[in-house]
C-alpha cells in the first residue's frame, strides 16, 4: 500500500491516522506540494486528474479523495466493522452525513490555513466565518452527545471515520486564524481523539496528557 503524502496536509493526515489506528503497514511517497506543486505534475495528474492529495495505491486500486480512502480502508481492513459501521444503517447514514460536513470544514478552515501558511489567494475572512459557522454546529452536536454519554460524532461507543474526517482541519484551525476558544466541546473531543491507541501527531498538532488512571 502506497500513500502519496504531504506532511503538512490535513487530508493526508486523515489517512495516516486511519492506517495507524488500523495498524497497517504502508509506504509513503512524499510529494513536494509546496513550493514544488508536484501534485500538479504529469505523473500525479495521471493518478488524480483533480491534482489533489492524498492518493492511495493498494494493489491495482488507485483511489483519490480523503473521505473515499477512509471509507475504503475502514471497510477493507477493520474486521470489527467499528470504524465504518456498514451493518448499522442508522450509524452508516450518520457517518455519510458527517463525511459531507468534513468536506465543508476542508472548504473553510483548511482554506483559511492555506491562505495563512501557504499564501493561497482567497477570501480568508469568508473562509474563517464559514469555519466558525460549522464549528458552532459541531460544538453544539458534541455538547449534546456528551450529555447523552457519547464521546464521538456518530452514536455508539467507538469512533468512526467521521471523527477522523473532521479532526485534522479542526485541530489545525488556529493556523488559519480560527480560534477554538468558543468551542469547548470540540476541544474536549480533540483530547479524546488524541488518546486513542495508535494516535500519531503531525506538525502543528500537539500531544495531550494521559487520561487519569
Amino acid at each position: 500500500m502506497k500513500l502519496y503524502d504531504y506532511e503538512l496536509s490535513g487530508n493526508c493526515y486523515k489517512i495516516r491516522l486511519m492506517l495507524n489506528f488500523l495498524g497497517r503497514e504502508y509506504e509513503t511517497r512524499p510529494v513536494d506540494f509546496y513550493p514544488g506543486r508536484e501534485h500538479k505534475s504529469p505523473e500525479l495528474m495521471k493518478l488524480n486528474p483533480l491534482g489533489q492529495l492524498p492518493i492511495l495505491e493498494d494493489g491495482d486500486l488507485v483511489l483519490r479523495d480523503a473521505q473515499a480512502i477512509l471509507t475504503y480502508l475502514a471497510h477493507k481492513y477493520d474486521p470489527s466493522g467499528q470504524w465504518y459501521p456498514v451493518s448499522d444503517p442508522d450509524r452508516l447514514g450518520q457517518v455519510a452525513q458527517w463525511l459531507a460536513f468534513a468536506d465543508g470544514i476542508t472548504a473553510t478552515a483548511s482554506s483559511a490555513r492555506l491562505h495563512d501558511t501557504l499564501f493561497y489567494e482567497l477570501d480568508v475572512e469568508a473562509a474563517r466565518a464559514g469555519a466558525h459557522r460549522l464549528f458552532r454546529v459541531l460544538d453544539e452536536h458534541l455538547w449534546f452527545a456528551e450529555q447523552e454519554g457519547q464521546d464521538w460524532i456518530c452514536s455508539g461507543d467507538h469512533p468512526t471515520i467521521a471523527d477522523l474526517a473532521c479532526f485534522p482541519y479542526v485541530i489545525l484551525s488556529e493556523e488559519g486564524g480560527v480560534s477554538r476558544q468558543d468551542y469547548p466541546a470540540i476541544r474536549r473531543w480533540c483530547d479524546r481523539i488524541k488518546r486513542l491507541p495508535g494516535f500519531v501527531l503531525m506538525s502543528g498538532v500537539f500531544p495531550t496528557s494521559q487520561s487519569a488512571a
Binding site: 449534546f144 456528551e146 476558544q181 469547548p184 474536549r188 483530547d191 500531544p207 496528557s209 494521559q210
Partner: protein, 582 residues
C-alpha cells in the same frame, strides 16, 4: 457594562472540566487556563507560561501538575508555583516563579471567578441548596451591554411548548432573573452575561430547579438562546466593533527564570500553620499534617524541607512527604530520637492536634532530577521521608525508579499507605545489621545503568557506607545525591582568618570560636541559613580565593575537592584569607 474586576462571574461550566483537560476561558480580556486536578481542585490561572508566554490552555493537565507544552515547565496544582524546569534538571526552581492565579469557586454547575474580587463569593439565594440545571452556554460575538439589553426579551417556556408568559423579575449589571409561566408550570432562569472581552460575551443560564427530564429542556433553551444570539449578532454587525480590552502583563525577571532566588538572612518562620492531624505512623514515628490558617501554603518540590519552630524555642528541619499536587497541606514524619536534644521529644510529647506552629517556607537543597533513565532511591530509617516525595513524583510521571527502604522491622517502617500505592517499585530490607546492609547496597549499586541517578537519605554511617560503595562501583559524583539528617562531625573552630566579601567590598575577621555565618549576620550581611550545623546546605557560599577547611556533610567529595563552595555555618579556612562571592 464597564470592566468590573471586583465582581464574580461564571467563566465555565463544571462539565467543561473533565479530568486531564485544560479549558480555555476569558474574563474582561484576560485569558484563563482552567483545569481540574485529579483531587478535584479547580485552578484558574492566567493563560500564559511565565517562561515564554505560551498559552497554558494548550498545556498538559497531568493531574497534579500542569506542564507547559513549549519547554516543559511544570506548575503545581493550587499554588501555581513552578516545580521543575527541564533545562535545569539538577536545580530547584525558585519559589518566586509562580503563575498569576485567579480565585475559583465551583457552585451550581458553574465555575466562578473574578479578576480581583472585592468580596467573598456569595451564592445567589435562589440557588442555595437547590438542585439546579446549568444550560449549555452560548458565546455571542457582541459587547456585554448589548447582550444584556437583548437578554431582557429572552423567551422561553417551562415545557418548551409555546404560549408561555415570561416576566423579568430582577435585572442588575450583567445578570437577569426571568420567570416563565405556562398554565400551572413555572420555571425560573438566572441568566448571567460573562464579559469575555469588549466585543464578546457568553450567555450562561441556570434553572433554579432541575426538570425531571432535562434533555428536552436543554434543547429548548439551546434553540431559544441561539435564536437570541442571532438577533444580537445581527445588531452588533451594524455597530462599530469595540477594540479588544488591552491587557498588560508583568514580564518575568530573566534572572528569576534562570536560578533559584537567594533567601534572606537566617532561619525564617514566615508561615503559621495548624496541626490538623497528629498520628502514630510507626514505632517511634509521629506523623503531622500542617494546614494553612489563611491563604495558600507555598509551593514545594520533591526533596524540600521546612524548618519547624517549636514551643520550646528550638527549630528543626523536616522533609515533606507530600506527593506532587498535594498542595492543601504539608506532611512530615518525625522520629523520636533516643538522644533527643529536645526537638523530636517536644514534637512527640508537647505538640498536639489543633496547635499553631511557626514554620518556614519549603526550601529544597535536595532537588530531584526528572530526566534520569532510572532513579534509585535508598532510604535508611526515617530517611524515607524525602524519598516518599520523590518516589510519588516519579510515579505520577510514570518515570522508572526503585525505592529501597531499610528499617529495623515493618513496625518501624511506617507509611504503609503511600508505600502500598507505590507497590512494585518498593523493596523493603528489614532488620539487617551493618554488614548485611552493606552487602545489600553493593548488590543494588552493582552496575550503574545509563543516566541512572542515586538518591540517599538516612543515618550518617549508612550514608557514608552507601557513598563509599557507590564510589567503588564506579558511580560518578554527579549521579550520587544525598541528604544527611545531621552533621555528626566534631567541629574544630579553633582557626582564625579573614573573610573578604568580593561583591560587598567588605573584609571581616573570623576569630576562633565564631562561625563565618555568625560574623556575616553580625555585620548585617544577608545570608540564609537553616540547620546551622553543616547538613542542609542552605548557607552555601561561592569561594573565589582561599583554601576552605570543610567540616560539613553537605558537599560531595568532588565539590570539596573543587574548592569552589563552602558551607558557612561550620566550615572555615586553612589559609589566612578567604574571598567569597557575596
Amino acid at each position: 457594562m464597564s470592566v468590573d474586576p471586583g465582581r464574580w462571574y461564571p467563566i465555565a461550566s463544571s462539565s467543561d472540566l473533565p479530568l486531564r483537560h485544560v479549558f480555555h476561558g476569558q474574563l474582561w480580556g484576560r485569558e484563563m487556563a482552567v483545569w481540574r486536578a485529579d483531587d478535584g481542585h479547580v485552578n484558574v490561572w492566567e493563560n500564559r507560561c511565565l517562561h515564554r508566554g505560551v498559552r497554558l490552555s494548550i498545556g498538559l493537565n497531568e493531574g497534579r501538575e500542569l506542564r507547559c507544552l513549549y519547554h516543559g515547565w511544570r506548575y503545581a496544582n493550587r499554588t501555581a508555583g513552578c516545580t521543575y524546569i527541564p533545562a535545569h534538571p539538577a536545580d530547584a526552581p525558585a519559589r518566586t516563579i509562580c503563575n498569576n492565579t485567579y480565585p475559583a469557586i465551583e457552585a451550581h454547575g458553574l465555575i466562578w471567578s473574578a479578576l480581583d474580587p472585592a468580596e467573598d463569593f456569595q451564592e445567589h439565594t435562589l440557588l442555595v441548596g437547590a438542585d439546579v440545571l446549568a444550560l449549555r452556554p452560548i458565546p455571542v460575538n457582541a459587547p456585554p451591554s448589548l447582550v444584556a439589553a437583548h437578554a431582557r426579551s429572552y423567551q422561553f417556556s417551562p415545557t418548551g411548548a409555546g404560549g408561555a408568559d415570561v416576566s423579568l423579575i430582577v435585572e442588575t449589571d450583567g445578570f437577569l432573573e426571568l420567570r416563565s409561566t405556562l398554565g400551572d408550570m413555572t420555571t425560573t432562569l438566572l441568566l448571567f452575561i460573562q464579559p469575555v472581552d469588549a466585543g464578546r460575551s457568553i450567555l450562561r443560564g441556570v434553572l433554579t430547579t432541575r426538570p425531571d427530564t432535562p434533555m428536552p429542556v436543554l434543547h429548548h433553551h439551546n434553540r431559544a438562546m441561539s435564536a437570541l444570539r442571532d438577533r444580537i449578532e445581527a445588531e452588533a454587525a451594524t455597530l462599530d466593533a469595540p477594540d479588544p480590552i488591552s491587557v498588560s502583563f508583568t514580564p518575568v525577571d530573566e534572572e528569576l527564570a534562570q536560578i533559584p532566588a537567594r533567601a534572606r538572612s537566617g532561619p525564617k518562620a514566615e508561615l503559621r500553620v495548624t496541626v490538623a492531624r497528629k498520628w502514630a505512623l510507626a514505632t517511634d514515628i509521629a506523623g503531622f499534617r500542617f494546614e494553612a490558617i489563611t491563604g495558600q501554603l507555598p509551593t514545594f518540590q520533591p526533596g524540600a524541607h521546612i524548618d519547624v519552630h517549636l514551643p520550646n524555642g528550638m527549630s528543626r528541619q523536616y522533609s515533606l512527604t507530600n506527593a506532587p499536587g498535594e498542595t492543601d497541606h504539608y506532611a512530615i514524619g518525625v522520629k523520636r530520637e533516643p538522644e533527643s536534644r529536645g526537638g523530636s521529644a517536644c514534637l512527640h510529647e508537647t505538640v498536639q492536634q489543633g496547635d499553631v506552629l511557626a514554620i518556614s517556607a519549603p526550601r529544597n537543597n535536595f532537588p530531584l532530577r526528572r530526566d534520569a533513565l532510572n532513579t534509585i532511591l535508598v532510604a535508611g530509617g526515617i530517611g524515607i521521608t524525602p524519598m516518599l516525595a520523590m518516589a510519588q513524583t516519579l510515579e505520577a510521571q510514570s518515570l522508572p525508579f526503585e525505592l529501597h527502604c531499610f528499617a529495623q522491622s515493618v513496625a518501624h517502617l511506617g507509611f504503609e499507605e503511600i508505600l502500598g500505592r507505590l507497590k512494585d517499585a518498593v523493596t523493603t530490607h528489614l532488620g539487617l545489621d551493618p554488614k548485611a546492609t552493606g552487602k545489600t547496597l553493593a548488590e543494588i549499586l552493582k552496575t550503574r545503568g545509563e543516566e541512572e541517578h542515586l538518591y540517599i537519605c538516612g543515618p550518617g554511617p549508612m550514608l557514608q557506607a552507601t557513598r563509599a560503595i557507590a564510589d567503588r562501583k564506579g558511580w560518578p559524583d554527579e549521579a550520587v545525591h544525598f541528604e544527611y539528617f545531621k552533621n555528626t562531625n566534631e567541629i574544630d573552630d579553633s582557626s582564625a582568618f579573614e573573610v573578604a566579601l568580593a561583591r560587598s567590598a567588605l573584609t571581616l575577621q573570623v576569630p576562633a570560636g565564631r562561625t563565618i555565618l555568625e560574623v556575616l549576620h553580625e555585620n548585617g550581611v544577608e545570608m540564609p541559613s537553616s540547620c546551622e550545623q553543616g547538613a542542609c546546605g542552605t548557607c552555601l557560599a561561592t569561594v573565589i580565593e582561599g583554601d576552605p577547611d570543610h567540616q560539613d556533610v553537605y558537599l560531595s567529595a568532588g565539590e570539596r575537592a573543587a574548592g569552589k563552595s563552602i558551607i558557612t555555618c561550620v566550615s572555615r579556612c586553612k589559609s589566612k584569607r578567604l574571598v567569597l562571592d557575596i
